[in-house]
Symmetry: C2
Subunit: 269 residues, 2 copies
């Protein structure tokens, strides 16, 4: 039987709400808030440490099968009143299921699996980052590397758009992309910089027989000059229509697809 | 010299604001509101009929080069005060440039160019629809066909995410996908239904030597059974990772890429 929370002033609830709102709070605490029956179940099933589960009576009825693994995994569970749930909700149509979870410990680059990797430099849009993580997992990439000031993978919108991929896909972080590439080249990775330049090598002719780091830049400005210079090859998506007009998530989807299309299976995670 | 509007109660402004908010109003009037310096310039350069241009003094200074073609194309232009601009803005960081434009007349299916076509059935998310239109244009597809209850291509978020592709790419509409397919088969199109089924033909082995209609379903439910049955071939994106986990825009990007990757150039618009 879960404890009940009916007060919107409850401290646990206020702390949980703060995690959804503030990237700084997430960083300091090493915790994040997952929202949604399926996302919380994904977290529990993926071995993410669930500190607290909050759910409404309505959710307990409607999402019983999703809640079961979360109730089992959660250190503490609370049934919350609807007005309390609305404090935690990031979406208009909230399902009334929320988990406070612990982030995984930061992985060091030497643990990055020897398999195709997508590297994102200063990606800013949470919807794009979530979609890219989801595609990377679906296509079977080994890992994703976030370099520079990317948006927070634990932001509510990224978690939601990733459909829980962030719980399952190895995600690595690096202050700068050139630094990470230097280390990964040393481990035998090849590397490609994706550029909107019709003079670059068409990605259809790139060699993906070795594990490769595919570097993709941010929405407005693309990759930094330093990152392009640090990559072995400059590749491009040949466009028959209007050039320079793919969004970051769509171009990343096509680039990852090309990496995995041929021999990717040999390297997939 | 443009007329000035300083009152938030101005009828032209109120009518324009309504166009951004209401799909029903857009349908009734055949008009839509475009927001943003670049998007308005794209509309003007693409031959879209611009009824009214609204811009702030700040925008006239900052976006002079974008405004020039719009001032030339617009039937009437108005300089608006900042508080008036905020009535028209759909984004937090509005640039203060807005156009009331006329939709193109509905195209009949017999005018659909004999080139690869992406067909979307009941696509609901404006961000996804915008991204798909943008990718279709960039990769050089001949057209996009919207079937069933898709979200409105003239919604502010779709226009923005499409980066103006909706002004340049031929977009067609059909009440049902099977009906449209019947007509297009008669004109010599082949057709594929994209399904998340590993037993379907891998899209890498599909034959795109003839102009093809690639049918993609909506975010939650995929294609209707009727649409799948109406297509000649069922194709799938082979996934090495977790199946059934690409978002609609990412899977459409990969499918369009595969259509255009080989001989697509022969059919591109």
């Amino acid at each position: 039987m879960s404890e009940q929370i009916t007060s919107r002033k409850n401290e646990l609830v206020r702390a949980a709400a703060k995690l959804a709102q503030s990237a700084a709070r997430r960083r300091e605490s090493g915790l994040f808030l997952a929202e949604g029956a399926r996302l919380c179940a994904d977290a529990a099933r993926s071995g993410v440490a669930v500190r607290e589960l909050f759910y409404t009576a309505r959710a307990a009825e409607k999402y019983a099968s999703y809640l079961a693994p979360v109730l089992k995994a959660a250190a503490r569970s609370y049934e919350i009143a609807e007005p309390v749930a609305s404090l935690l909700a990031s979406t208009d149509a909230s399902q009334g299921v929320f988990c406070v979870c612990a982030m995984r410990g930061a992985r060091v680059l030497s643990e990055l699996p020897l398999a195709h990797c997508l590297a994102l430099e200063t990606l800013q849009d949470p919807g794009n980052l979530g979609a890219v993580l989801r595609t990377a997992e679906a296509l079977g990439l080994g890992s994703v590397l976030l370099a520079g000031e990317c948006c927070d993978v634990y932001a509510p919108k990224v978690l939601r758009a990733s459909m829980g991929a962030v719980f399952r896909l190895p995600v690595f972080f690096s202050e700068t992309l050139p630094g990470a590439l230097c280390e990964l080249h040393g481990r035998g990775f090849s590397s490609c910089a994706a550029v909107p330049d019709s003079a670059a090598l068409p990605v259809t002719r790139a060699d993906f027989s070795r594990p490769c780091v595919m570097a993709v830049g941010n929405e407005g400005n693309g990759l930094s000059q330093e990152a392009i210079a640090a990559c072995e090859t400059r590749v491009t998506i040949p466009m028959l229509g209007r050039a320079e007009s793919l969004n970051a998530a769509s171009s990343a989807a096509i680039l990852m697809w090309e990496m995995m299309r041929g021999g990717g299976a040999r390297h997939g995670g």
